[in-house]
Symmetry: C2
Subunit: 458 residues, 2 copies
């Protein structure tokens, strides 16, 4: 097909939108390891999980066999409000780089939550409503997930209780106000509203909180209030399932114009975006139908895939959630202050970890200043102001395109542009003022953290 | 056509996008009055205007005869990066209101500037580049225009000097950082960098600036630097011309699905969005091809159409720009603090003023609290967090839809959703906290302002 026939933005028609999510675990030869109960360190049961999570979501979490799961009608209706998201051909970036590579990005930022998080938030809110719950609880750090969940709960008229890491609550008042606009109850964490919060405040009176602490408060709030469950925006297999809508749309859009990806790139924190983007492509590869090069990009300050160990670990620092086997830096690892808030997670989705362990995916870590350089370069030619998280993928996409310039190869590069940076201008300001720092943990720091990993004997 | 066949979002295909702008003045029987030179109060010449504005833009400003003007190829390429904007069917809002009315909105917020301003910014930057200029100067209040112009100048590698009203510069540091990301030079106004700025600072040492003052500085900077011109984001006829892309796309999208609008609603500050949205529809009406009800919505705190006088007035408080005949509250009128920053303008586009004077358009003023109530209601069902400016149109669209509910009429309502409110969360916070105030100027205040209008004798 002639290059000029491919539009700047490929939008699927409503009737071309996916009607089923794709569950990559069904096609994996080596399945992700079982989740463990944090109290017993033994495989967790469906019943145990159902005390914390919604029933239908627990089923999805444990489902390793069904490749396709129907997207309920009401979720598909909601998707139509902000999806399909465009697959954009980065003509201007290609021209600026002078590369023969064809660059595409799947842009998930055109909704008020500002990221792909809404894809799973609406699904989780739907199942909570179906179960007859009053509401859900969650934590949020950078704020994208909390915003997405607020929007989803508002749509289904569910109560939404968000524990927001106190320093974010104070530094990002605008994020908080967006959540309030959607009727969410936002509490700075740690708070006096939970036992665990009170305990942490008594021990560390001046603390500005952490994601681990906020998770612990949210889980306590879910399990001590009648009619509530806890929901999580990343890491879990159910989240990757819902996020597969990203990859399914991207694949359909490429197919529509007879294009085939060579390299697929995504930023990786807990893995929600990367897993969702690559799943259907990985499925083709697992079934022997196509071959791709997959690249996970993580911050050098929090390099779980590139420098972590593959072991059982707690998903949260509070140690209240199930354990999973994953690439981890240790649940006690505290990343240096890094503005790409959504990528500051010590572990990685169990599914992605297994794929990486099996050599089916590559990983790279990049430093923050180089990431913001790529972000600014991208913004100036493509118009979109990217989130710092998404910009990790931009960095590697540009690097790969420049390699093609050297070799003359016309590779097709697809990357996930997860969201916009409107609420991250403090970080951009630091970058403009030359005050951004790059920090890479030392081997000693990592070894000290690995030493504290739980001893699991199965 | 069956209601269910109309998708949530109508996107035109690239090849369906407008190739020409529409100039409504060509179809107007009564043309807008001529612009006047502020020094002589006599009709301004093309040559005089060319000292301030780019040559080609001056031609467009004075063109009352050509109905269609070609959109240059490079502008059309840029449009493809963020256009076509979707015409959205507000199914969820209709359901929530229980109205038989069909509600559509043309959403212009899916670009980094967050509003429709980019449509004219890219055109103005293009003509500046074509003229071989080094750069352009402008002022910005709320920041949308400054951001849009920064993006446009970055694309064409033009220097961009933005004078930002000092209180906005301080209260909206994130807007400033977005502009810096696109390489703009942002100066808080009044500043020491211009003679007029120095003078104002000497007279009012603690001033936090005003739009009028920022315009004066930007015009001085344009006329005293070699290779610079001044550009403006609203009010002017050239801006309405460029913004006609909004209405042309909306009309094409409705036509594509066999729909016909009955009521067309837009918020009105200087008139850039409203004029752009209604132009092609108004053209049909002026040519006797169709009939519509057009409603301009303005804030009760700054009611130029509903309570102003139709007279010659200065476009800026600094009295350096040409005068035009328009509905005005007087160039010295200072609106009460109102968070819908983009609508705090004392006058109105000359074209829209003439159409209003001829009875071809209605106008309504609405109070701020009612506007934010509509904004929040809209956000919760339609997902998009609207800008306060845009929410004026939402308020009246909801009012009209509720009237249909009473009468049972299935009218088709189309309104302009000009942008997103991500940088307006201070205002939302005030609303959530019940600290928002409604202020309406008294008749005495307006009469005192009218008394200071210039005496024009033509």
């Amino acid at each position: 097909m002639n290059k000029n026939e491919i539009p700047y933005k490929i939008y699927l028609k409503e009737e071309e939108m996916p009607k089923q999510w794709y569950n990559v675990r069904a096609d994996m030869k080596n399945k992700p390891a079982k989740l463990l109960n944090p109290a017993t360190l033994q495989p967790v049961t469906e019943e145990e999980l159902s005390n914390i999570f919604c029933k239908e979501l627990v089923k999805q979490e444990l489902d390793e066999t069904n490749p396709y799961i129907d997207i309920p009608e009401q979720i598909r209706e909601f998707y139509k409000m902000y999806r399909p998201s465009p697959l954009v051909r980065a003509y201007c970036l290609e021209k600026k780089l002078g590369t023969p590579a064809k660059i595409y990005y799947k842009f998930e930022g055109n909704n008020t939550s500002g990221s792909h998080k809404l894809n799973s938030a609406i699904a989780q809110a739907y199942y909570a409503k179906e179960q007859g719950l009053k509401g859900v609880t969650t934590e949020t750090g950078a704020g994208q997930w909390g915003t997405a969940l607020s929007m989803a709960c508002s749509y289904f008229d569910l109560d939404c209780q968000v524990y927001m890491v106190k320093c974010s609550y104070e530094q990002k008042p605008f994020r908080r106000e967006v959540m309030r606009t959607y009727g969410a109850n936002v509490t700075p964490s740690p708070s006096e509203s939970t036992e665990v919060g009170k305990k942490i405040l008594a021990e560390h009176p001046g603390t500005t909180g952490s994601l681990g602490c906020a998770i612990s408060e949210a889980v306590e709030a879910a399990t001590t209030q009648e009619g509530y469950r806890y929901v999580l925006g990343s890491v879990l297999s159910q989240v990757l399932l819902h996020q597969s809508v990203i990859g399914l749309e991207a694949l359909a859009a490429l197919d529509k114009y007879g294009q085939k990806a060579d390299i697929i790139i995504g930023c990786a924190g807990g893995g929600s975006n990367l897993g969702g983007l690559i799943s259907p492509f990985m499925g083709q590869q697992l079934r022997g139908e196509a071959e791709y090069k997959f690249i996970a990009v993580e911050p050098a300050s929090c390099p779980s895939l590139t420098r972590g160990v593959y072991a059982y670990d707690f998903c949260d620092t509070g140690k209240v959630c199930p354990l999973q086997k994953m690439y981890t830096l240790g649940s006690g690892f505290i990343p240096s202050p890094n503005h790409a808030g959504g990528l500051r997670y010590h572990g990685m989705s169990a599914t992605l970890s297994q794929l990486y362990a099996d050599g089916l995916m590559e990983a790279r870590s990049v430093e923050q200043t180089a990431v913001f350089e790529a972000a600014e370069q991208f913004a100036r030619v493509e118009g979109i102001l990217p989130a710092p998280e998404s910009s990790h993928a931009i960095r590697v996409a540009i690097d790969e395109a420049l390699k093609c310039k050297e070799t003359g190869e016309e590779k097709t590069i697809v990357f996930g542009l997860t969201g916009t940076g409107y609420f991250d201008m403090f970080a951009y300001e630091k970058f403009h003022d030359g005050k951004m720092s790059d920090y890479i943990p030392t081997d000693e720091e990592l070894q000290a953290s690995f030493a504290k990993l739980p001893k699991v004997d199965l």
